[in-house]
Amino acid sequence: MFLPALILLAATSSQTPDAAALIASLKRPVPATTAYTEVRFLHQLTRPLVLHGELDYGGANKLGKRVDAPYRESTQVEGDGVTVTRDGRAPRHFDLERAPELKVLMGGFSALLGGDANALTSLYTIALVDNAPNWTLTLVPRDAGLSKHLREFVIDGTAADPRCFSLQQANGDSSVMLLGALAATTLPQPPTSAALAAICRATQ
C-alpha cells in the first residue's frame, strides 16, 4: 500500500522541479516539426482567424511557419532576416526587427526547444504553475521595448511536451497556437479564449 504512494511521491518530486529544470526537459533534437492550429483574436475583425499549418524549428535562429489553410503562406526566419512567400507572389524579405511578434516566437522557440532556461530568463520574468502532469509557464517581457508589443507569452504543456503557445499583445489582440496532437482538435464555433484555454489545460 505504500508502494503506489511512494511511486506517486517520487513522480511528484521529479515532476515539480523549478522552471529551469522544466525548460531543460523540453529540449528537442533539431530539426523538430510540429503541426499547429492557430486562432488569432484581432480587434479589426468580426471573428477570430483560424489557421492550420506546420512549425519547423531548424536550430537556433532558424524557424519556419507554414500556413496550409485557409490560404497558403510560408514564413522563414533565418538569423535576422525574414522571408514571406505567398502563392503567386514574389517573396518579401524584411528584417526580423520589423516583426516583433515573430521575434518573440523565434526567441521563445529557440530557448524552449534548445532547453536554454538562461536565455529565457534574461528576456522574461518566468512564473511556473504546476498541476502535474500539466504545467503553465507564463513569460512576461523584461525589456520595455518588447513589452510595448507583448504583454505575456504563455506556454501550456504536459510532462515534457508543450501543448499551446499563447501570445497576449499589448493592444488587446491575442493568439493561441495548439501544437502537435492538439492541432487536430475540433474547435468550438466560434472559438473563444476561454474555450481554448480549457483545451490547452485539459488533463489528458
Binding site: L45, R98, A99
Partner: protein, 773 residues
C-alpha cells in the same frame, strides 16, 4: 645711426609687420576652391557644371559608423546624433534609417494616392479592393503582420508602404532597432554638409562638429565613431600636406639661418634678411584684399612660392658691401640691376593680369605688389638699418679660390648647343603622359582611408562621387516630367547592370501631370463605398473600420497636386531640394547614381533626349578644367616671357648682352623640364609655378654674373651673393623634394633642379671670363 636706435628701428619694423599681419589675417578670406581659378562660367549650363564639380551632392556627404557597444546602445547613440545634427545649420540632411513615411505631415498623408504609382496600374474597384483586403487578412494572420499597425484603417491598399519602398535606396543597409546597421554590426549614418566638399576648412569644421555632438551624447565614451567621406578625406589630406610643408619649411628656415650666419658672421643679418620679403608678402595680401576682397588658397600657395625671388634682394646688398663702403653706397651700386630684375619680373607678370582668369589676376596683383614693396624696402629701408661695421666677403680665401676655379673653368662654345639638343631629345622621347590633370593624384589620400570610404559608401548605398545625371528643363515640373520620361530607360540600365541604382527626382515627387492622372482615377465617395462594401462581403473586417480610408480618398480627390516647393517643406523634402536647382531661370535636376558599371551606355542618354539629359563625369570634367586652366597659364607664361625679353633688351639697349642673360635662363628652364620628363614625371600646374620661380632666380644669377665690374673683388662679391642664393634655394627646396607628398616633391625637386641648372649655365654663358683676372 647708433646701434641702439638701429635695434629699435628693426624692432619697430617687425612690430609694424606683425600688426599688419594681424590685420590681414583678420580680413583675409581664403577660398580653397579650384573653381575660383577658372574663367567665370558664361551660361547656366557651365554654372551648373562648375557648381557640381567637387560640390555635387555626393561629395558633400559625411559617412559615419558607430561601433564598440551593444546594438541597442548603438541605435540610441545613432538616434541621439541625428537629433543633435538636425539642429545644426552646418548640415542640410542627416539620416540614420529611422525616418519613415509615418513622419509625413498628417495633412500630406492623403497625397499618397497621388505620389504612389498604384493607380497607374489599378482602379479602386470591388475586385481590386477585395484582393487587397484578402491580402490584409493574410497579413493579419502572419506573425509578421504586426508592422501594419493602425495605418490599416486609413490605408488598406498600403500606399504608405509602397512609398516607403520607393523612397528607400535600392541598397539601403538593414534596419536594427530602427536604424541602419552594417553587416559588421556598426550603426551607420549619413549627413550632407551645407559647405562644398572642396572647402577643407568647412569640412574639418563639420567633422569636428560631429565628434563634439557625439561626445556630448550620454554614455558616448563606451562607443566610438568613425567618419569618412570625400570632403572629410580631402580636409585630412590638406591638413597633412600643410603639416608636412610646415615641418620641412621649419627645417629649411633653420638651415637658411645657419647658412647666413656662416656666410656673413653677423646676427643682425638674421634680423634683417626676412624684412623685405615679409613686407612684400603683407603688402601683396593687402592688395588682394583691397581689390578682390579675398584670395584663393592656391593663389596664395603659388604667390608665396613665386615670391621666393625677393629673398635674394637683401642677400645681394649684404654680399656686395665692400669694406670701405656705407650701406647706402652699396645699395646705390647694385640697385640699377636689382631694379631691372624687379621691373622686368613685374612687367612679365602683367601677362597674368590680362589673362581674364580671376585666380591668375590675383596671382599677378599679389606678386607684382609684393616684389615692388620688397624691392622698395631693400632699397630705401634696409640700408639705414645695416650695421656700420661689416665684413667684406670678398676677402675670404675660400671665395678667392672658388672664383679662380670658376673663372678658369673651360667654356666650350658648343656646350649650350649640345645641352639644348640633349634636352629636346629627352623631351621628345620622354614617356607619356605629358600632363598630370588629376590634382587629387598630387596629394593622394591614404589607401586605407579610401578603402574604408568605399566600404561605407557601399554599405550605405550612398551615391557615386564621380558620375551625375543632369536633367535640364525650363521649370521644376518640367524636370520631373523629364525624369518620368527617362524612367523606363533607367529601369533598363538597372536590369542590364549598367548601373546599380539611379535616384531620379521623380522618385520623390511625380510631375503635376502624373499626379492629376492618378487623381482622376480615384473614385468618388459613393462609388468607393459601394466597391468597398462589395469587397467586404466575405472578408471579416468590422463594419465602418475603413471610414478613415474613405475620408482620405475623398480628400485626395480634392487636393491641388503637390508641387516641389510644398514637398520640399516636408521631412523628405530635403532630398528633393538637393536634386532640383534653378540657375538663371533654367531648372536642373540632379540624379545621383550608385554603382556605375557602364558609363558609356549611360552617356548615350544625351543623344536620345537631344541633350536634355546628360551624364556628367565630374572627374573628367574637372580634369578638363585643369587642362583649360593650364592652357591659360601657359599662354600667360608665353606672353610673360616675351615681355621679359623686351624689358631686358630695352633696358640694356644691347641685344648681345641681353642674349647672355636670357639664353642661360631659357636653356636652364628647358633642361629642368627635360630632366623631369625624362624621369617619367607628368607635369602639373605646380611644376609650372616651380619652373617660373626658378627662372626668376636664374634671371638674377645671369644678370649679376653678366654685370661689368670694376675689379675682381667685386666679381668675388657677386659670386658670394649668388652662391648664398643658390645654396639657400637648393637647401629649402631640396628638403621639400624629400617629402612623400607628391605636390611638395614636385615643387621642391623642380626648383632645386632648376636653380642648379640656372647656376651652372649662368657661370657658363653669362659670367664674364675677363673677371678672372
Amino acid at each position: 645711426m647708433s646701434p641702439r636706435r638701429r635695434f629699435a628701428a628693426i624692432a619697430l619694423w617687425w612690430l609694424v609687420l606683425a600688426l599688419a599681419a594681424f590685420g590681414v589675417q583678420r580680413t583675409l578670406v581664403v577660398g580653397n576652391d579650384l573653381r575660383g581659378f577658372l574663367p567665370p562660367p558664361r551660361n547656366a549650363d557651365q554654372k551648373v557644371l562648375m557648381d557640381e564639380i567637387g560640390d555635387g551632392p555626393a561629395s558633400r556627404l559625411l559617412l559615419m559608423a558607430i561601433s564598440g557597444a551593444p546594438a541597442e546602445r548603438l541605435a540610441d547613440l545613432s538616434r541621439g546624433l541625428v537629433q543633435a545634427l538636425r539642429g545644426d545649420a552646418r548640415f542640410t540632411q542627416v539620416f540614420d534609417g529611422g525616418e519613415s513615411v509615418a513622419q509625413l505631415d498628417p495633412a500630406l498623408l492623403p497625397y499618397r494616392y497621388l505620389l504612389s504609382p498604384t493607380l497607374d496600374r489599378a482602379q479602386f474597384d470591388a475586385a481590386f479592393l477585395h484582393d487587397q483586403l484578402e491580402q490584409r487578412i493574410e497579413d493579419l494572420g502572419s506573425p509578421a503582420g504586426a508592422a501594419l499597425g493602425e495605418i490599416l484603417s486609413r490605408d488598406p491598399t498600403l500606399e504608405t508602404l509602397a512609398l516607403a519602398q520607393r523612397w528607400t535606396p535600392r541598397h539601403a543597409p538593414v534596419l536594427r532597432d530602427g536604424v541602419w546597421f552594417s553587416a559588421r554590426g556598426e550603426a551607420l549614418l549619413i549627413a550632407a554638409t551645407r559647405a562644398s566638399g572642396l572647402d577643407a576648412a568647412a569640412q574639418s569644421n563639420a567633422s569636428a562638429a560631429v565628434r563634439a555632438a557625439f561626445t556630448a551624447l550620454p554614455d558616448a565614451a563606451s562607443a566610438k565613431i568613425e567618419i569618412s567621406g570625400p570632403g572629410y578625406i580631402g580636409a585630412q589630406v590638406a591638413a597633412n600636406t600643410r603639416a608636412e610643408a610646415e615641418r620641412l619649411s621649419a627645417i629649411g628656415t633653420a638651415g637658411f639661418a645657419l647658412l647666413l650666419l656662416i656666410a656673413y658672421r653677423s646676427w643682425s643679418v638674421l634680423a634683417l634678411v626676412a624684412l623685405p620679403l615679409a613686407s612684400g608678402a603683407l603688402a601683396g595680401l593687402a592688395a588682394i584684399i583691397a581689390i578682390f576682397g579675398g584670395a584663393h588658397g592656391i593663389t596664395l600657395a603659388f604667390g608665396f612660392t613665386l615670391l621666393g625671388v625677393a629673398q635674394e634682394y637683401p642677400v645681394r646688398v649684404f654680399s656686395h658691401r665692400a669694406a670701405a663702403e656705407t650701406a647706402a653706397e652699396t645699395v646705390r651700386a647694385v640697385w640699377p640691376l636689382l631694379r631691372l630684375a624687379i621691373v622686368s619680373a613685374c612687367i612679365a607678370y602683367l601677362a597674368f593680369l590680362v589673362s581674364g582668369v580671376p585666380g591668375l589676376q590675383q596671382l599677378a596683383v599679389f606678386t607684382i605688389v609684393a616684389l615692388l614693396v620688397a624691392g622698395f624696402a631693400t632699397r630705401w629701408l634696409l640700408p639705414a638699418l645695416l650695421p656700420e661695421k661689416f665684413r667684406d666677403v670678398e676677402s675670404s680665401p675660400l671665395m678667392q679660390r672658388a672664383h679662380r676655379w670658376l673663372a678658369a673653368m673651360p667654356r666650350p662654345r658648343a656646350l649650350p648647343w649640345v645641352a639644348l639638343a640633349l634636352g629636346l631629345l629627352a623631351l621628345w622621347f620622354a614617356p607619356a603622359p605629358l600632363w598630370q590633370n588629376d590634382l587629387a593624384a598630387l596629394a593622394p589620400a591614404p589607401a586605407k582611408e579610401l578603402a574604408r570610404e568605399s566600404e561605407l559608401r557601399a554599405a550605405l548605398g550612398a551615391p557615386d562621387v564621380r558620375y551625375l545625371l543632369v536633367l535640364h528643363a525650363n521649370s521644376a515640373d518640367g524636370v520631373l516630367r523629364l525624369a518620368e520620361a527617362i524612367s523606363p530607360q533607367v529601369d533598363k540600365w538597372i536590369s542590364t547592370h549598367a548601373v546599380d541604382d539611379v535616384e531620379l527626382p521623380s522618385r520623390w515627387l511625380p510631375s503635376l501631370e502624373t499626379q492629376r492622372g492618378r487623381q482622376a482615377r480615384l473614385p468618388d465617395r459613393a462609388a468607393l463605398t459601394t466597391a468597398l462594401d462589395a469587397a467586404l462581403a466575405d472578408v471579416p473586417f468590422k463594419p465602418g473600420y475603413f471610414a478613415p480610408f474613405l475620408d482620405d480618398v475623398a480628400a485626395a480627390r480634392g487636393l491641388p497636386p503637390l508641387d516641389a516647393q510644398t514637398f520640399e517643406r516636408s521631412p523628405f523634402g530635403a532630398r528633393l531640394a538637393a536634386m532640383l536647382i534653378e540657375r538663371d531661370g533654367a531648372w536642373y535636376g540632379l540624379a545621383t547614381l550608385d554603382g556605375v558599371h557602364d558609363p558609356a551606355a549611360l552617356a548615350g542618354i544625351a543623344a536620345q533626349t537631344q541633350g536634355a539629359v546628360k551624364l556628367l563625369d565630374l572627374k573628367s570634367e574637372s580634369e578638363a578644367l585643369v587642362a583649360q586652366y593650364r592652357m591659360r597659364i601657359l599662354q600667360a607664361l608665353g606672353v610673360a616671357f616675351v615681355l621679359l625679353v623686351l624689358a631686358v633688351g630695352l633696358a640694356f639697349r644691347d641685344w648681345h648682352r641681353a642674349w647672355h642673360v636670357l639664353a642661360p635662363m631659357t636653356l636652364a628652364t628647358l633642361l629642368a623640364i627635360a630632366v623631369l620628363r625624362a624621369c617619367g614625371v607628368p607635369l602639373s600646374l605646380f611644376h609650372l609655378v616651380a619652373v617660373t620661380l626658378a627662372a626668376g632666380l636664374g634671371l638674377h644669377y645671369a644678370l649679376f654674373f653678366e654685370r661689368p665690374v670694376a675689379d675682381a673683388a667685386e666679381a668675388r662679391r657677386t659670386l658670394h651673393a649668388t652662391l648664398v642664393c643658390v645654396a639657400a634655394a637648393v637647401l629649402v627646396f631640396g628638403l621639400l623634394a624629400t617629402s612623400a607628398v607628391p605636390v611638395l616633391r614636385a615643387i621642391g625637386a623642380t626648383v632645386a633642379l632648376g636653380v642648379s641648372f640656372h647656376f651652372i649655365l649662368s657661370t657658363q654663358m653669362a659670367m664674364r671670363a675677363d673677371d678672372a683676372r
